[in-house]
Symmetry: C2
Subunit: 340 residues, 2 copies
């Protein structure tokens, strides 16, 4: 039996949905298997000379490389910082590796590198090592950037997708779907009444405040990038064997973004975010979590958006504005390719 | 004044020669400046929770992805392990990030991932975290792989390009130019009498033996990849403000490789290696260094190939078979694009 249902790589293998999951679990995780990798979190946590180290990597292939609210460089810095800090680690250092297409304007590269430096400085993390490769014209697409990062886990808690419990609350730090809609509008040359900007931002100050403020009551954190809120909550529900129910009326979304999604037939729950986190917390600390987040500029629109329930295990649902419940499934195909 | 002499990215910006150096120093290093990065070694060494951590990254864009003696995957594993261990660090964990082109055969990806796992196991290092992106057909080239790695520096020595002293000896662990000529012969469809295979291999056991055996007498180590032996020795000479003189008669090179280089008009000193290291050691420990290396399968052709002299600073020369001296300059242009 072939290990994947397709014999060649499809765009949807990179979408963060079911085909990505199939590729990762059946091809990569099975072969590379080891305790750190097998957890399939956005970062590995390993023991290194007696300290707990978080280690993560992401390649960025977003198209276009400049979009409203940011560019591929700051996305690469913020994205990897976010992957590191979602286990509650304190980011320490980043690497940056560039694959440049022959013919890229040096001026564009300068702008991107400048914004990477500003993003790293804002987050308080140094870019300490790097690499540059050049590929022939037509064998790449302007530039791809990989960032890897390391951080120190200096708290004793297990913050993980496997720690959801019935009656936990789902908290989100800000408005959803901005990044995906900003990239899409630029790519497709769409103009909306109000400009839609990417939310790209490093969230390490928010995660650090949540860890300090909530301690062991903070069960899980993740940033809903590819596949959006729907993908993260489905992964949480599957990993912990619980159900999740969202309240549509509580979801924070800018009117312009909601309008653009409706116009294009996109469900904002599946659209990528780059400066938003989802935290799952014990019910009695839910209000505190919202208060902690609102104490930061990036979290001032934080909201409680749902709760965990024992059954049905693995299922994510949403109570709609009409009072009915609908299933929020794991994304299958490719809603928005090359979004990050 | 523009920061680079070209307004667009050239293939030679990725060759490991003068244009790469210009791009890295004037564009990246200047903006990202911090103590760890400013050393411009192949790895950063940072203090992390009280331990010294080596951190490195490399993207691999070699074309073709399968070549005699290896493929892009094992190259990516071995190459980053080598970058980490050249400061004498013990590699602990790797990340692997894939940029796949739509349409890549899943069977090819499987073979590559299998060989990555074997390479990692041989070196005793786990791949603990990863990422997968897919780009549209024609926007990439089958696959690019980035690996980043971390290691622990658990010795007290400063092994660095800045530590060369007059009368030090230059030691090489094996025959040169195999990787570059293997890739080139496959790419160009050339057939030589004896097949030429890449030397791709992880060198962490060799570096560890040198650190244990030589201690403070081990001044510098580096693996001569892009730009070959010539680029590494020029970097060493410039960083330490010393001269270096090689003995052509002492350079280990397979007859088939030497013949292929001659046929194609390539200087083997500029051709990439992926399983060879250069060590600079105090004169009185030079024989010991060779003995230590020859104790390992990968080092059994180790040889003394030259020495450091006080003057002229920054200049690398070679005493030829005819007894004359010729300058071995830093490579300028693109001898072999996409070699790693």
């Amino acid at each position: 039996m072939p290990i994947l249902r397709h014999r060649t790589i499809q765009l949807a293998h990179g979408s963060g949905g079911k085909l990505t999951h199939e590729l990762i679990t059946r091809l990569f995780a099975d072969r590379f298997s080891n305790p750190a990798l097998d957890r399939l979190d956005d970062q590995a946590v390993i023991d290194c000379g007696g300290i707990r180290l978080a280690f993560s990597t992401d390649s960025y292939v977003v198209d276009p490389i400049f979009f409203p609210g940011g560019n591929i460089g700051e996305l690469a810095v913020n994205g990897t910082i976010n992957d590191i800090c979602m286990c509650g680690a304190r980011p320490v250092a980043l690497s940056a590796a560039f694959i440049l297409e022959e013919g890229l304007a040096v001026a564009d590269l300068e702008r991107i590198v400048d914004s990477m430096q500003r993003a790293a400085a804002r987050a308080g993390v140094d870019i300490v090592t790097g690499d540059t490769k050049v590929v022939n014209r037509g064998k790449g697409d302007k530039l791809f950037i990989n960032t890897a990062g390391i951080g120190i886990v200096d708290h004793p808690y297990d913050i993980s997708a496997r720690r959801l419990e019935a009656d936990d609350r789902i908290v989100i730090s800000g408005r959803i779907a901005n990044h995906g809609m900003a990239v899409l509008s630029k790519r497709e040359g769409l103009a909306f009444e109000s400009p839609i900007e990417s939310d790209t931002a490093a969230l390490n100050r928010l995660t650090s405040a949540l860890v300090s403020g909530l301690g062991a009551s903070l069960h899980a954190m993740r940033d809903p990038t590819r596949g959006g809120v729907a993908a993260v909550l489905n992964e949480f529900a599957a990993a912990s064997g619980v159900g999740i129910v969202l309240e549509e009326s509580a979801l924070p979304i800018a009117p312009a973004v909601a309008g653009a999604c409706e116009l294009l037939g996109l469900d904002p729950l599946y659209v990528a975010n780059e400066g938003v986190l989802i935290a799952v917390v014990a019910a009695e600390k839910a209000e505190l979590a919202v208060t902690v987040l609102r104490g930061h500029e990036l979290g001032r629109r934080a909201a409680l958006i749902g709760r965990v329930r024992a059954k049905p295990p693995g299922l994510v649902a949403m109570r709609t504005l009409l009072g009915t419940e609908r299933i929020v499934d794991m994304p299958v195909g490719e809603q928005l390719p090359r979004i990050c």
